[in-house]
């Protein structure tokens, strides 16, 4: 969920921008020049995957996959997500400039958290890894929803109902993302296990 321009309070915007800057700096530090093509092409693939609309009952939800991005990229997911969001703002005008920081934090922080939280589980093949993959996809969305809600409520109590609505809307997305992350994980494990090597680093 992108927060639009003009909604959040200056303090929240500044806080988001600051956190995003720190996260991006850490991510860039861990990113070698040699790895730029790989990260960029993966990040382009995530961008394109987000064009996929998955039906959930009567509505179509687009994929986010930030949990998976965290699994594959770790801290580097932060600059990768920042770039993807910037491109969305430029090409579709989704999100925007002043909210870029906040939107990056709401998407990328869960990615990094999930990377550390589920890395251990995913290293154990079989059922634990499958559970870990599902949990990773679902938790990343849950955390994103919570962060969006927190950004809105910090801006003003008036947004508490909106925040609750948004959080509720994240619940079906959570399940769908969990299932899809699980299937993607199983696919990668079978077809290109090298891609998951970051987990063991």
């Amino acid at each position: 969920m992108h927060i639009s321009e003009g909604v959040l309070s200056p303090a929240v915007l500044a806080g988001g921008a600051g956190l995003a800057a720190v996260g991006t700096a850490i991510g860039l530090k861990k990113l070698d020049y040699e790895a730029i093509p790989r990260v960029a092409i993966l990040s382009a693939a995530f961008f394109v995957a987000s064009l996929i609309h998955v039906p959930v009952g009567p509505v179509g939800l687009h994929l986010v996959l930030n949990g998976l991005m965290g699994l594959l990229l770790g801290w580097v997911a932060v600059p990768a997500i920042l770039i993807a969001l910037l491109l969305q703002a430029l090409l579709f005008q989704f999100g925007g400039l002043t909210v870029l920081g906040v939107n990056t934090v709401t998407m990328a922080a869960p990615a990094v958290i999930c990377f550390y939280a589920f890395r251990g589980l995913l290293r154990r093949p079989g059922t634990p890894a499958a559970v870990g993959a599902f949990a990773c996809g679902a938790t990343a969305i849950l955390l994103s929803g919570l962060l969006v809600a927190a950004a809105l409520i910090t801006t003003g109590q008036a947004f508490s109902k909106v925040a609750a609505l948004i959080l509720a809307a994240h619940i079906p997305v959570m399940l769908v993302e969990g299932v899809i992350t699980l299937f993607i994980y199983l696919f990668l494990q079978k077809v290109r296990p090298e891609m998951l090597e970051g987990l063991y680093a």
Binding site: L186, F187, K190, V191, R192
Partner: protein, 226 residues
């Protein structure tokens, strides 16, 4: 003679942004049991024609009839795609499942077959193409020729009444090419092959025609060397 499988009437199609239409008042018929080769230089519209029949592209004017039914909207093409199979030029574009079995069973599953039945059909189709033992192989890691045969299996598993093949020999080595010729010769359904390899068409197509903007003009193909 019975009703044509495919009939295109006065079709006009231009790619968006392109000044020159690929087809202009184009007429075409394919009769049951026909095995037709389409030839012509790159860009003459061979692929476009196949994609128009499948509803992947929509004409600006004219009518398309598949198996006697007029098709216009996306919805009309859903049953068409159950009955007409298209083999893409690039097998990589056609295969997306982790294992061969899943890929071949995908079509039958979409046709509403229960999983057990879909797997049975998939295995049978693979056996008929000499792909026994491929079921658990990772599709992505197959060689180019193997991918092409698996792609053909995914299409044939849907038991189509008509097959459209787009440059089926691209990137095939001699052996797989021979195998493909034999498979096509043994098929008992009508098909349409777009190819620039005249030698291949001489073995697989009973008639050939040259794709022009207004029609397909029948031509003679020299028989192959064998």
């Amino acid at each position: 003679m019975s009703e044509p499988l495919i009939e295109l009437r006065h079709l006009t199609f231009a790619y968006p942004g392109s000044p020159q239409p690929v087809f202009q008042g184009f007429d075409f018929q394919l009769l049951p049991g026909q095995r037709l080769g389409l030839v012509g230089p790159n860009g003459c519209g061979k692929t476009t024609l196949l994609h128009l029949i499948m509803g992947l592209l929509k004409p600006q004017a004219g009518r398309i009839l598949v198996l006697g039914q007029e098709v216009k909207k996306e919805k009309d093409f859903v049953p068409v795609r159950q009955k007409v199979g298209l083999l893409f030029q690039n097998a990589d574009d056609q295969l997306f499942c982790p294992t061969v079995l899943e890929d071949v069973a995908f079509g039958p599953l979409n046709q509403g077959k229960p999983p057990g039945e879909a797997i049975r059909i998939a295995r049978e189709t693979m056996a008929s193409l000499g792909l026994e033992g491929f079921a658990e192989r990772v599709t992505y890691k197959l060689s180019g020729g193997e991918k092409k045969l698996v792609a053909l299996a995914t299409v044939l598993a849907m038991q189509p009444q008509l097959l459209l093949l787009d440059e089926p020999t691209t990137g095939l080595d001699e052996r797989t090419r021979h195998r493909l010729i034999h498979i096509l010769q043994d098929l008992d359904i009508a098909y349409l092959i777009a190819s620039h390899e005249r030698d291949f068409l001489a073995h697989t197509a009973a008639e050939c025609c040259h794709v022009h903007p207004t029609c397909c003009q029948p031509i003679r193909i020299n028989p192959g060397k064998k």
